[in-house]
Symmetry: C2
Subunit: 221 residues, 2 copies
């Protein structure tokens, strides 16, 4: 019985790692949909999000069942509790990728991001995708050191977002109001994906070390 309990717990963590890979793909494809104005890819991200939501529900039930039937303690309890939270973070990141894809779809055949901001969004999307990847790898390898590096990437994301605002708020915004609104919301979505990757990393640190990381770069929700 203990054996099967450990198997159940390990398979929850393995499936979280797989879900992180799917979220990483969703972020990558939503960026492709956005920057290439690719309607087919946008539709794919939006419909794939339903599978992520289903995976969320499945993992949540399995975590609850582990709590109810096994009453884990210490490190195992930390793992189950952290898993319940990580699955919510991952579902949310998937939703945000779908939001990006929906803006791409709304503006098709135009590209929602104006020419002058393509380099900024290209970088922002790359940082966000790498952060999701690092969060997933740190979970797979139980590597608190890798997880801790995510706070630095988040500062890079903040700088990119500030750069975006400088362009948006400058006196000579050369594009439409509609474009400005799209850029503001798209920037927000990438920023939130990055935030959730940092939160996920903080949960990995908690599972591995038993402590919550401290400092202003670590957010709670």
């Amino acid at each position: 019985m203990r054996e099967s309990y450990h198997e159940s717990l390990n398979s929850v963590v393995e499936d979280l790692v797989k879900m992180t890979e799917k979220v990483q793909t969703a972020v990558r494809l939503s960026t492709k949909a956005l920057l290439d104005a690719d309607l087919t890819v946008a539709e794919q991200v939006i419909s794939d999000d339903l599978a992520l939501d289903a995976q969320h529900d499945d993992l949540e039930v399995r975590c609850f069942s582990l709590l109810a039937r096994q009453a884990p303690v210490a490190g195992e309890l930390r793992t189950v509790v952290a898993a319940m939270r990580m699955v919510a973070d991952l579902a949310r990141m998937g939703d945000l990728a779908a939001h990006i894809a929906k803006i791409a779809r709304l503006r098709y055949p135009e590209r929602a991001v104006p020419e002058g901001l393509v380099p900024n969004f290209t970088l922002m999307a790359r940082v966000a995708e790498e952060m999701v990847e690092t969060a997933g790898r740190s979970l797979r390898e139980r590597n608190a050191h890798d997880a801790a590096r995510l706070a630095d990437s988040d500062e890079e994301m903040d700088e990119l977002r500030k750069g975006q605002f400088r362009v948006l708020m400058g006196k000579d915004w050369p594009y439409s109001v509609e474009s400005a609104v799209d850029v503001a919301l798209l920037g927000r979505y990438y920023e939130r994906i990055a935030d959730h990757a940092v939160i996920m990393a903080s949960r990995v640190i908690y599972v591995v070390t038993g402590n919550h990381p401290e400092g202003e770069n670590w957010t709670i929700a």
Copy 2:
């Protein structure tokens, strides 16, 4: 021992109700800061958010301790798990109110919301605040019926947000690009506060009935 366990669980729920009241105040005051361009109130919301974050940390530790020391089952396990999630929703709603206050502070002494959108934001803020109140009351009274009504309020919020976009995306937006960006983000923050109130209500339904509500108005994260 069982007695003190029940007391601990009840006090967690009572403190969640109190935290919901504080979040409701934060939403109300952030709206006042925004629509009256009141810097003092904006600063208050921003500093009060630190207290909400501390309350989040405290409640999270107490929930974890209940799981670790008492190994609750059935309805009590549902309550502890739901409480862990609700406290995260509440902390997030507090962050969003602080985001609203920060935009009010950034534009002071100007008002961030342009004249023509004041009626829309007044309504949006009222709906958001009422939704937070209803979520808190349904938790205090374990009232799944009241909680279920929140899905309707959320539709009202969606309509208000659509109205905002119609003004923003119209050909004759009479204000600055900066104002358009502020309106887009502020609208997003109120919408997310409403989303979290709906999610919180769905957790109340889960605690009371043992079932997750179904249907497209109920979101998971």
